[in-house]
Amino acid sequence: MNLTTVKKHGGKIWAWFWMILGILYFFLPLIATFLFSLRAKLNVLSFTAYQHVFNDSNFVYNFSYSVLWGVLTIIVGVLIFVPTAYLIRLKLPQFRIPVEFITMLPFVIPAIVYVFSLVRTFSQPPLLIVDSPVLLVAAYTVLSMPYMYSAIDTGLRAIDVRTLTEAGQSLGAGWGTILFRIILPNIRVAILSGAFLSFAIVIGELILAQYLVKPAFAPYMTYLIQQKAYEPAAMAIISFALTWAAMGVIQFIGRGSGGGEQSQIAGGH
């Protein structure tokens, strides 16, 4: 009995050790950046750098655009991937493996390669849309695909898609109604987590926005790093806070309308 106590104890200590190590690994750079951003004035800690950032209309402009791209990416992603994943679960299980493979491609194709092929393909007639924001959002949707698709698919796995669909059908519902009133609300938590990741990716994404020449946060920050010392650090912290705040809002909106989260848990067992 003594031995097991020691063992259990040991296990606990190690669990704590790894957890604290993980937390340090994650937060130390953040804290360092934060402290650095407070040193804009010599020998005193101040929020001067933050004032500069908020007074910089370029920052507001670029960051707002990034938020817009993020939101559009989420909407487009949901509209494309929810019906796709649903259809595959319901009717085309033989396509599951190939489609899963395709959704993982953004992991193995470097962004720089992807953006060059985009520019090549879409900068000549009849596909002259390289300047359109449509191309940027489409590209972001592709980038976020591995996260969005697998989040949605996980959500669908947790509910009995087939039976819920059939119950809806026998009550007279068509496909649109089933998708939007039965399936979507029941995978809301899963969609939120996909949206969460997509949003973070879009906010931090540099290469696509830069090469497709669109206003966005990351290219602006890159530009600023070459000009200034403290402001980019402040901006990093601000963007971090804003991103989390935005995700909090998404979360809030998502949970606002009914017992979605609990019901999904209930649907899961």
């Binding site: 039976t163 819920l164 059939e166 119950a167 026998s170 009550l171 109604t177 979605g260 209930a266 649907g267």
Partner: protein, 353 residues
């Protein structure tokens, strides 16, 4: 007078025939059960009526309209699933009102109908709860109300009680039957549980390996099984092989012992091999009342089943079960004891193979 007709229905899944030449006429307000072992095609047949599967051949006609190839949401059928299939994101009231909303009924009409249904299933107090807050039995009642709210032409139930525990199962079973009778709605009920089918149905369709074995009232199916499968599957019937020894007198040789039967065997040849069946409750100890067959036996086993005691006896070369009602004064023989049992000649049924 036929309300729902399945004629010559069959269904293949990639070459395997799962339902074969299925014929059934259902009258309005009838309660029909599909009874058979798992995998015999009950669900597939039900799903063809619901429109989730299309028959490979054959026709389905409801109220004189052919619906064989109609989409499920174009048919007016109510479906109850084993897993309840309530929409987890909707409250009880929203679940029940869902179909009415699809039909674009007015808000007041929906509310009125939902309240009516809540009263019917006795869950008025739970209108605003979510499905996960209800017990299994309550969830299944909500799903019943949801299906009935639309006033379907036929109610289809696929093993609706299998996920519930024994007590609730029996209770909900009679509740379903009572509601079905009160609303005079046609129902088709799939089950693999013979007791369930016998207790709830107007008629039972006994199925085996995709084919209909027998269609009849519970009384007919239980007392006059037409095939060996039905005899074995419905109730716990004894079957044994026998040899005709005197067709005119109805004499048989069963494992070296002579039996007399009231079944028609005059057309059989002497020496022909047949199969007979005898219900366990048709046997009794000789001490009670002497009948046509008096048989020496050895007690092999005794099982206490609550209201019934099942005694396994060996008569000649064959084993039979005998059921006798339990009572506190029952004097049971010991295992291995030599006894005599008796049964009337009309208890000895000859089966069509």
């Amino acid at each position: 007078m036929t309300h729902l007709a399945l004629s010559r229905i069959s269904k293949d899944f990639g070459g395997a025939t799962v339902v074969q030449d299925f014929n059934l006429d259902v009258k309005k307000g009838e309660f029909i059960s599909f009874l058979g072992p798992s995998g015999c095609g009950k669900t597939t047949t039900l799903r063809m009526i619901a429109g989730f599967e299309t028959p490979t051949t054959g026709q389905i006609i409801m109220d004189d309209v052919e619906i064989t190839n109609k989409a499920p949401n174009q048919r007016n059928v109510g479906m109850i699933f084993q897993s309840y299939a309530l929409f987890p994101n909707m409250t009880v009231a929203q679940n029940i009102g869902f179909g009415l909303q699809i039909r674009r009924d007015s808000k007041e009409a929906i509310k009125q109908r939902v309240d009516e249904m809540l009263t019917l299933i006795n869950l008025e107090k739970h209108a605003n709860k979510y499905p996960y807050q209800l017990s299994g039995g309550q969830q299944q009642r909500v799903s019943l109300a949801r299906a009935l709210a639309n006033r379907p032409q036929v109610l289809l139930l696929d093993e609706p009680l299998s996920a519930l525990d024994a007590k609730i199962r029996v209770q909900l079973r009679s509740e379903i039957r009572a509601i079905q009778k009160a609303l005079d709605i046609t129902a088709i009920f799939v089950t693999h549980d013979q007791e369930e089918a016998l207790s709830i149905s107007d008629r039972i369709v006994v199925m085996y390996e995709g084919k209909v074995e027998q269609i009849g009232t519970p009384f007919e199916v239980y007392n006059f099984p037409e095939t060996r499968f039905v005899a074995n599957f419905v109730g716990s019937l004894n079957t044994a092989s026998a040899e005709v020894t005197d067709p005119a007198k109805g004499l048989l040789n069963v494992g070296g012992v002579q039996f007399v039967t009231a079944s028609e065997i005059a057309s059989r040849k002497k020496g022909e091999a047949i199969r007979i069946s005898i219900r366990p409750e048709r046997f009794s100890f000789l001490s009670e009342h002497k009948k046509d067959n008096v048989l020496d036996c050895v007690i092999e086993n005794i099982t206490f089943l609550g209201s019934v005691v099942r005694v396994q006896v060996k008569i000649g070369g064959a084993s039979f079960n005998m059921d006798t009602f339990n009572n506190p004064f029952l004097e049971l023989p010991k295992i291995g004891a030599k006894e005599q049992v008796t049964c009337s000649k009309n208890a000895v049924l000859v089966l069509d193979e």
